[in-house]
Symmetry: C2
Subunit: 168 residues, 2 copies
DNA sequence: CCAATACCATACGCCGGCGTATGTTATAGT
DNA sequence: ACTATAACATACGCCGGCGTATGGTATTGG
């Protein structure tokens, strides 16, 4: 329900009906609605045992090779509406914003390390990782019309070229 | 209320109280709540008579000079929570998504034109504009902790350098 | 001057969702 | 076999928000 309609539609009774139980049962597992909501960010964060991070660690080759691997991996993944839902929530809830920011930082750190591995100094690497990562965020957040995998792959190549043309 | 809490908190009675009128009065101006909501995207779009576009047109100099002008302008602007609210809304509402996408396209087109003016072919210019613009989106959407103007200005310079280093 | 219209208030019925109090069943430990 | 506890169901009271019906006031054109 969070994914499809946003936090404000995560409500006890509709949720119970969807699970084919009664709300009496809900209040056995959660103290109240707020208790459920506060448990969601952690639940989400745990589900983000980043396949990306795992994927980059199993990839051999240079830093740029790994970057290419990441980009292809992400391009093939179908866009994660869960991420978007959390981000939408985070806009109005500082606690959630902090949780999301933590994940963002972790992901950016991965990319930053790769740029450092490609020879950039920490500052430049950090900024280039921001540029890299924010592009992902922008693509996800603004995706009102779906884009084909081919299109995404092509853009990924373009991005890699642009962000690493001065390296090697 | 949209800005501060999101669409789902745009409700008739709280709204009426905030305006120190009764809801009877509300239903004179709007058919119902949905009528109000559907009027909001257009209202927002109209408020986006882009100061940025206006600003770039009054700036003299080369394409890159104009880019610099844009970046400085945006860096000094305080982050627009209205934009974020619309974006959060758009995630769950295709109609709103279309409205926001229209604004996004318009803004990107401005940047794209500048990159073309700097000598890039349409495709490269389009992609680089995406990279440029999505960075803005990412910075706004992920801003849980505020950043100083100086920091933003420095990042703007960094961005300009990175995205135009091969031009001139 | 008065009636039409714009604008707002009052008052009501309704429903969805919250939380609680209390029952019911199944399972496991002793 | 008995009880404790986990997991669910039933049933209620409450409130916030929606929409409607109706009444009031003020301004304005004829």
């Amino acid at each position: 329900m969070l994914r499809e309609c946003g936090v404000d539609h995560v409500k006890v009774e509709p949720l119970a009906e969807r699970l084919a139980v009664t709300k009496g049962s809900f209040y056995w597992h959660f103290k109240n609605r707020n208790d459920l909501l506060r448990s969601l960010p952690e639940f989400w964060a745990r589900s983000q045992t980043d396949p990306v991070v795992a994927h980059v660690e199993t990839t051999a080759g240079s830093a740029i090779d790994k970057m290419r691997a990441i980009l292809e991996f992400i391009a093939r993944e179908d866009p994660d509406r869960y991420d978007n839902a959390m981000r939408a929530w985070a806009i109005f809830d500082p606690e959630v914003a902090a949780a999301v920011a933590q994940i963002d930082d972790r992901r950016m750190a991965t990319v930053r390390a790769l740029f450092e591995g490609a020879g950039l100094n920490p500052d430049d690497a950090a900024f280039r990782a921001r540029l890299w990562y924010f592009y992902d965020v922008g693509e996800h957040v603004t995706r009102d019309t779906p884009v084909s995998v081919e299109e995404r792959l092509e853009r990924a190549q373009h991005r890699l070229k642009l962000l690493t043309s001065d390296l090697d």
